[in-house]
């Protein structure tokens, strides 16, 4: 009814050709060069651009199957892993995503090259997912007839990845914006409808540029506000980790500590340190049900943090010289830091740090050293005053905030006073005597060290009197109980006291002549102001060390070795003297990895090569024996007998002309035999037989010349 007659058929619109849209010519090259310019690796970009664009000039193509593309994708994944491993070795887990983004054009290069230098015009989406591939294989095996997967030209993905990589680094101005706009619009140009559609495209592109520019400006300012607000909120609500210690006091159950090596201490001169002190706290509070020690965010304390003088290009730091007449001790510390800003566990009264590579090192009035450095391994020499009796931490009463050194929570005070009374300690007794009395008491049979707490410990509603409960009822706990109780008792008795955390240096490895500090050795103790100096008062029963050591597993030796290796390897990588060896090692590892992948990969190729007999191998096969002398003879015979028809096998031609050949017959037959074997026998002819063939051919040729030509008979 649609009235065929009403309109002429018009021109015919053929089906869309099977051709696959690939990114416009030279766009990828331009994108790669822009990228390399942004990241300042110009030569690399030029090489990649040449590799990616020269396929237009090169006619050979590699016959990759779908399985080959999977293998090539695995190469890309291996490259990703390499980058990931190197980032992880440097401890830059957060930077990993950025490193991937930055090097995307390199990481995806194998796939792109396989796409453009392969005979297949598209890759299948399932190439990129092992799960999808497995599911598809199963589907096919079970006859479920799955939908054919999406196929696309990988160049689009590669282009998108390269453009994404443009924006990886912060730079000023509009370079990235302009480059990205140019590249994206270039990619969109072929999609414009020809004719007037091009005008519409240009208008739309112009509008996009204007809006895009406005959009990114808005984003910038919004982000700045958000960032600002977030930073403020963050600082207000979550103090940095080293500004507060949340204790396990009041928690029920087993406390697990890592048995792995955290630090290794090798004493260079003088006495070994007893503790590595990490932090010192003054204020005890129960926050949200958890007993915590903190220094609050007292601005005065922060103001008083002093940056240390940096003596030698960022690696030698001095706080104060060791006084005359005192012997300095020194110890090398090796270990890993996991965050950028951390208090450094160091022997007390450390005055100098040698070979400590850091951006900054500050000392708080409490004697805590806060280091700012890249996460990773550290190896430095700490010079400290071996004589612990004379410490130079700030005296308790010199600042306005000093009251904290005598502060006890109201809720604990009655209990503390009861205990002091029962011990016969009065306020005003000499500090030395009080410390002695407390040491005696905690060392008595009444107290027991345990990390496994149960029962009434820390019942809800009684959280405010955790320390009293410990002193009067349980009398069992770990170092945090003992240290906290000691500090509070000392304060209640009028002796300024502080709470210190860090590691006890106890385990000596005689084989390596160094002390080993494990996670298990994490410890806390009290510091009391006795006779004008801070004295370490460790009241935890001595049994804690043996108990900790009993927990080491059989594998600990191996784990220790690995952790030592890791730190040593890290340090070796960081050291500057390693020279050319180091630069070759990663290349070596990458080379071995790539080699392994390549071997697997090529083996796969050979397998797939066998599947498809066509290709260069078979054409070489066809050429074997084309230099046979027989052809000479055949040419000569053509004048005597009817020539061979096109495509006629030699043998059938011979059968038809045998009679005409007369006495030449047997020779021709022998020559043919040899010729056939030369052409088709995999073993071919030995030199002697080849000689015979040549001789036969010569004789046949001469004989043929002697005979009258076919036309004359």
């Amino acid at each position: 009814m649609n009235g065929v007659e009403r309109w002429p058929a018009g021109r015919a619109i053929p089906r869309e050709s099977e051709s696959v849209r690939e990114p416009p010519p030279y766009l990828l090259g331009a994108a790669l060069i822009s990228w390399s310019w942004i990241i300042d690796w110009m030569w690399l970009g030029i090489v990649l651009a040449l590799a990616v664009e020269s396929h237009r000039r090169v006619s050979w193509r590699w016959d990759f199957s779908d399985e080959d593309y999977v293998r090539i994708w695995n190469v890309c994944v291996a490259l990703f892993l390499c980058v990931g491993v190197f980032q992880a070795l440097d401890g830059r887990f957060l930077g990993m995503a950025r490193a991937f983004q930055k090097w995307l054009p390199v990481l995806l290069l194998p796939m792109q090259l396989a796409q453009i230098y392969g005979t297949q015009r598209t890759v299948s989406l399932v190439t990129f997912s092992m799960v999808a591939r497995r599911k598809r294989e199963l589907d096919l095996k079970l006859g479920r007839d799955p939908r054919p997967p999406l196929r696309f030209h990988f160049g689009h993905v590669y282009l998108a990845a390269t453009i994404m990589a443009l924006g990886v680094e912060r730079s000023d101005g509009y370079t990235v914006f302009l480059l990205a706009s140019a590249l994206i619009l270039w990619a969109l140009w072929p999609l414009a409808t020809p004719g007037k559609g091009r005008l519409a495209w240009i208008a739309a592109a112009g509008m996009t540029l204007v809006l895009g520019h406005a959009g990114q400006r808005t984003w910038e300012s919004v982000q700045r506000d958000v960032e600002h607000w977030a930073t403020e909120w963050f600082q207000r609500n979550r103090p940095g980790s080293h500004e507060m210690a949340v204790t396990e006091i009041g928690e029920v159950g087993e406390i697990k500590l890592s048995p792995n090596i955290v630090w290794r201490v090798r004493v260079a001169t003088g006495a070994p340190p007893r503790y590595l002190r990490e932090n010192v706290y003054r204020r005890y509070r129960v926050v949200a049900g958890a007993a915590t020690w903190s220094n609050g965010r007292d601005p005065r304390m922060i103001m008083q943090e002093v940056p240390l003088r940096n003596a030698r290009d960022g690696s030698d730091w001095e706080w104060a010289p060791i006084p005359e007449g005192r012997e300095a001790s020194a110890a090398t510390l090796r270990g890993r830091l996991k965050r950028v800003i951390l208090p450094l566990p160091v022997p007390r009264e450390t005055t100098r740090f040698v070979d400590l590579t850091a951006a900054e090192l500050r000392r708080s009035p409490l004697g805590v050293f806060v280091v700012t450095t890249d996460p990773g391994s550290l190896d430095f020499l700490a010079v400290y005053d071996g004589d612990v009796a004379k410490a130079r931490d700030e005296p308790p009463l010199s600042t306005a905030a000093a009251r904290s050194d005598l502060e006890t929570p109201e809720s604990e005070l009655p209990g503390l006073n009861r205990v002091l009374e029962s011990l016969g300690i009065n306020e005003g007794d000499p500090a030395r005597a009080i410390v002695m009395r407390l040491r005696q008491w905690f060392a008595s049979e009444e107290f027991r060290y345990t990390r496994h707490l149960e029962g009434r410990n820390g019942v809800e509603g009684m959280r405010d009197t955790l320390i009293t409960q410990f002193l009067e009822e349980n009398r069992a706990g770990h170092c945090e109980y003992f240290a906290s109780a000691t500090v509070l008792l000392l304060r209640a008795a009028g002796v300024p006291a502080r709470y210190a955390v860090g590691f006890a240096v106890r385990e000596y490895d005689s084989q390596r002549e160094e002390f080993v500090v494990r996670g298990l050795h994490a410890h806390s103790w009290a510091m009391a102001w006795v006779d004008g100096a801070w004295e370490e008062v460790d009241t935890t029963p001595a049994s804690w060390e043996t108990e900790e050591r009993a927990e080491l597993s059989r594998w600990q030796g191996l784990r220790d070795m690995l952790s030592r290796w890791r730190v040593d390897f890290d340090l070796w990588r960081q050291s500057e003297e390693k020279g050319i060896v180091w630069s070759l090692i990663p290349l070596g590892i990458a080379g071995v990895l790539m080699g392994l992948v390549l071997v697997r990969f090529l083996r796969g190729f050979r397998r797939s090569g066998r599947r498809t007999p066509s290709g260069p191998a078979s054409s070489a096969w066809e050429r074997i024996g084309l230099d046979s002398e027989w052809y000479e003879a055949e040419r000569a015979l053509a004048s005597v007998v009817p020539g061979r028809r096109e495509g006629q096998p030699l043998r059938s031609w011979y059968e038809g002309t045998r009679i005409l050949l007369e006495d030449l017959g047997p020779r021709v037959e022998r020559a043919l035999d040899l010729h056939y074997r030369l052409r088709f026998d995999p073993k071919g002819l030995d030199p002697e037989e080849r000689g015979e063939l040549a001789e036969l051919a010569r004789v046949i040729g001469e004989e043929a010349l002697r005979r009258p030509a076919l036309s004359e008979r």
């Binding site: 009814m1 649609n2 009403r6 309109w7 058929a9 018009g10 021109r11 015919a12 619109i13 053929p14 089906r15 869309e16 050709s17 983004q101 599911k135 199963l138 095996k141 079970l142 006859g143 479920r144 007839d145 939908r147 689009h156 998108a160 994404m164 443009l166 924006g167 990886v168 680094e169 912060r170 509009y174 990235v176 914006f177 990205a180 706009s181 994206i184 969109l188 999609l191 414009a192 409808t193 020809p194 004719g195 559609g197 519409a200 495209w201 208008a203 739309a204 592109a205 509008m207 996009t208 540029l209 809006l211 895009g212 520019h213 959009g215 990114q216 984003w219 910038e220 982000q223 960032e227």
Partner: protein, 449 residues
């Protein structure tokens, strides 16, 4: 379960709607925009946000321009062949004329068939083949069951035509391709006219005024090896010229002495003259072998997949057997009675008609059907040279059917379509065709194996 169905159904509708509005390039660009948004969150350390902003604006401008663009209005008419084959692309032409008031630039045509999404009952009850082999996650969420059901209901894959530009009132003939996915009658409804935004990312669709049309989709067919059918005139290429009538074209065999009663018209006068005694020409009735192709349509509770494979196998035989020199009867149990379709030498029916019958055959769930089939085959077995049984199972009744035929001296090829790879012990004279591997198994088939 109901919730899953709800979500899948909503997702299915959504994805259909999205596909009608976004081109592949657009989908890629949208994906890239989302990816770049992740990096854009950190504007202090990277410039990703500039790229993100640019991509977002391209999407916005494209979508707006696409939404504001003009819809194409066309008058159209399809030129369709009568038949198509499942799984094979069908090319056809659509004549169009721009009926709108404006020039239509960069338009494409796209067939539109309302997608049928599985309803809840079906989603709950029908199991995907070998669903038990899926992992626990897939079995719980049944997403693959959903995909399978959706795919099962898709009649065909339609390719979008090439872009064309039509001035006002101008006409053109546009080549289009569709690939029917299953046999039966494919009904084609309206055609959409797709136009894109200036960037080619988003689609705007109008409708072409066009009448509905149907194509009979013949069953999928497999390649068969050259079968040496018993009774056929093999190795005899070009030797015989078949006459027009059935059974009347007698063939000259030789000469023999006259016997009383021989018709005088058969006397070979020249030989009589040479030998001096009457000699007659001897003829032999030229008979063509007759084959039966029996399709088992009695599907008790097996999966439809097996039935479809069985139809394909039957269609392969119907299309491949050399019926210039033979007759082929197709027998199966229809909804009411035994259906017979014959083709072959001299028959008015063509192979295509038989395939058309096979295109429309439906499974029958009638317990008495097999006895009926056995009786009918038994009645016909007298004149048969060979019989091909395409069965959906191998139970006592079906075994008896094959035995009946063999007992009567009919060469019988038994093909049993089974669900997947459940390996059965080999039985002489029976070929098992696991669904999904039918193609491979058929290629190794030999008659009498």
């Amino acid at each position: 379960m109901r919730l899953l169905h709800y979500f899948y159904r909503a997702g299915g509708r959504w994805s259909t709607a999205a596909q009608a509005r976004v081109t592949r390039a657009g989908a890629f660009l949208l994906g890239a925009t989302v990816v770049s948004a992740v990096g854009a969150l950190d504007s202090l350390n990277s410039m990703q946000y500039q790229i993100f902003s640019l991509l977002t604006m391209i999407v916005l401008v494209g979508a707006t321009a696409g939404a504001l663009g003009r819809r194409g209005r066309l008058e159209a008419e399809r030129t369709l062949p009568r038949h198509a084959t499942a799984g094979h692309p069908l090319r056809y032409r659509v004549r169009v004329r721009n009926a709108g008031r404006w020039r239509l630039a960069g338009a494409r045509l796209s067939e539109w068939v309302e997608p049928v999404l599985p309803d809840y009952q079906e989603f709950r009850q029908r199991e995907e083949p070998f669903e038990r082999k899926r992992n626990v996650f897939d079995r719980v969420f049944k997403y693959y069951r959903w995909l399978w059901l959706v795919e099962l209901k898709r009649p065909a894959r339609f390719d979008v035509s090439a872009a064309f530009t039509l001035a006002r009132r101008e006409g053109a003939s546009v080549e289009m391709t569709l690939t029917p996915l299953r046999r039966g009658v494919l009904r084609l409804g309206p055609i959409r006219v797709l136009t894109t935004d200036p960037f080619g990312l988003f689609l705007r669709s109008g409708w072409a005024a066009i009448g509905a049309a149907t194509v009979v989709v013949l069953p999928k067919r497999y390649g068969l090896p050259a079968l040496e059918m018993p009774g056929s005139s093999r190795y005899d290429l070009g030797g015989r010229v078949a006459a027009a009538g059935v059974g009347h074209s007698d063939e000259f065999v030789g000469l023999r002495d006259y016997r009383p009663g021989d018709p005088p018209r058969n006397i070979h006068w020249r030989s009589w003259a040479r030998l001096g005694r009457p000699v007659v020409k001897e003829f032999e009735d030229e008979t063509f072998p007759r084959y039966a192709l029996v399709l088992d349509t009695l599907l008790e509770d097996g999966p439809d997949q097996c039935f479809e494979e069985a139809v394909s196998v039957a269609a392969s035989f119907a299309a491949t057997l050399d019926t210039k020199e033979s007759f082929l009867d197709l027998l199966f149990v229809g909804p009411r009675a035994i259906a017979v379709s014959a083709s072959g030498h001299g028959s008015a029916r063509e192979v295509e008609n038989m395939l058309e019958v096979l295109a429309l055959v439906e499974p029958v769930r009638d317990p008495g059907g097999l006895a009926l089939l056995r009786k009918e085959v038994g009645l016909r077995s007298g004149g048969l040279s060979a019989c091909i049984l395409v069965l959906l199972g191998w139970d006592a009744d079906r075994r008896a059917l094959a035995q009946d035929l063999r007992r009567k001296g009919v060469e019988t090829l038994v093909l049993v379509v089974t669900e997947g790879l459940n390996h059965r012990p080999a039985e002489p004279g029976v070929t098992f065709l696991p669904a999904g591997m039918v193609r491979e198994r058929l290629l190794t088939l030999r008659f009498g194996s």
